[in-house]
């Protein structure tokens, strides 16, 4: 049942496209944590936006690159089926200023392959399980250096994708796949879009510092202090039996 404090569709839509201020976003996050109705509505709207994007992309989508198994965890034969359903979703970047961001506004999406072989786009708050495989797709309007970090509930910062150069040529699947480890709880996956490489050591330090400032909780608002870099993140939750 909705109540007076519930979030409107306008609020949730503005949240999805990154128009909310930090204060508004904090209010929204606090509310959806304790309101099942709004949490469900938020997921529903996110899902609809994703479906809209799918409808736009599928007919004209070029064949995907193969699913390369950086960790040797996925068979090449499975790549073809993956290519059919791969769907990226633009996520609001927490560091972007409110308003329309088009030029240079990157998007970041996570795609998961579950133990049963199903593949699906990951939305914020989705529950994944240890052993699930994830990989990443990005889109930028300008050439960028992209890195992806995983920051988990055990306080570990893991470079999921070392810095790779991305050209501005539409959605691009990043190389490699990651199999999620046994650490349960929230995990924030952060993509950094930089003009210059920062180096692995500095990336790890920046991630660790951001986690420290979030008091060790990756589910809190977490920002990487990386000047000159845009960033986008998605929070997932790892549970033993999703």
């Amino acid at each position: 049942m909705r109540n007076e404090a519930c979030l409107s569709d306008l609020f949730l839509d503005r949240w999805r496209v990154g128009e909310l201020s930090e204060l508004e976003m904090a209010r929204g996050e606090a509310h959806v944590r304790q309101c099942l109705v709004c949490a469900r509505r938020k997921r529903e709207l996110d899902r609809q936006a994703l479906e809209f994007d799918v409808q736009l992309r599928l007919p004209r989508r070029a064949p995907r690159r193969a699913w390369r198994t950086a960790l040797g965890l996925l068979a090449a034969a499975a790549a073809a089926s993956f290519a059919v359903v791969l769907v990226p979703a633009a996520l609001p970047s927490p560091t972007d200023a409110p308003g329309v961001r088009t030029k240079g506004g990157p998007s970041f999406s996570v795609i998961a392959r579950r133990a049963d072989g199903t593949i699906h786009p990951v939305l914020p708050g989705d529950v994944l399980a240890p052993g699930d495989a994830i990989r990443f797709e990005v889109r930028t309007e300008e050439p960028r250096i992209v890195a992806v970090l995983g920051i988990d509930a055990a306080g570990v910062v893991t470079p999921y994708v070392d810095e790779v150069a991305i050209e501005a040529e539409g959605p691009q699947l990043l190389p490699g796949a990651i199999r999620l480890d046994e650490t349960l709880g929230p995990e924030r996956i952060v993509a950094l879009f930089c003009d210059e490489p920062l180096g692995r050591t500095r990336l790890l330090a920046i991630g660790a510092e951001a986690l420290r400032q979030a008091r060790g909780d990756p589910s809190r608002e977490l920002r990487l202090d990386a000047p000159g870099c845009a960033q986008s993140s998605i929070l997932i939750r790892k549970e033993a039996t999703p």
């Binding site: 007076e4 839509d13 128009e19 809209f52 088009t102």
Partner: protein
């Protein structure tokens, strides 16, 4: 505004426009038309769109206006058809008067948002949509419509009263 910018805006705001147009109009084809019309406006009025503190709010407002314009056009068309029907068969006119010019085929259809809107004053339509479709707060509606929260409260109460009055007799027609 280049093609890639339009593409990005379409992906970002398109799902919102389509969802709301479907909810307000209850018609897929009309909703798709509104989707296209909204983005024509975005291109035409790109200056004001970019200048908005909240482009999403601008999109909401434009979508609502275009949808409600369609409902108004539908109401006018229904009135014209009713007038012509009266000329041909006076009894048809009597039925039209009873149902406010709409002739839905089922009791459920009579209670759709569109059906209710058609039976209340047009100045209440936008407020009703924002409140009942988008679940917006009084403050949000006041902001998007540029009126006071107190006014929103009064008008919503008026809408509730009229909608109940409009819907109640329809339920016993069956």
């Amino acid at each position: 505004m280049d093609a890639s910018t339009i593409d990005e805006l379409y992906r970002r705001y398109g799902p919102v426009v389509l969802r709301r147009a479907r909810a307000i109009l209850g018609d897929e084809e009309a909703a798709q038309d509104v989707l296209q019309e909204v983005f024509v406006r975005v291109v035409e009025q790109r200056g004001s769109f970019r200048g908005e503190a909240s482009p999403m709010t601008w999109i909401y407002r434009i979508t609502t206006n275009l949808c409600l314009n369609r409902l108004r056009d539908g109401r006018r068309r229904a009135a014209i058809l009713e007038e012509r029907a009266k000329e041909m068969d006076p009894e048809v006119g009597a039925v039209g008067a009873e149902t406010g010019g709409t002739t839905p085929s089922t009791a459920e259809a009579r209670l759709t948002l569109e059906a209710i809107l058609q039976r209340v004053p047009e100045e209440l339509w936008a407020i009703a949509v924002y409140y009942h479709v988008d679940h917006m707060t009084h403050a949000e509606i006041a902001q998007i419509m540029g009126v006071s929260r107190r006014t929103i409260g009064y008008r919503l109460e008026e809408f509730r009263r009229l909608a109940l009055a409009a819907a109640a007799p329809l339920e016993v027609v069956r």
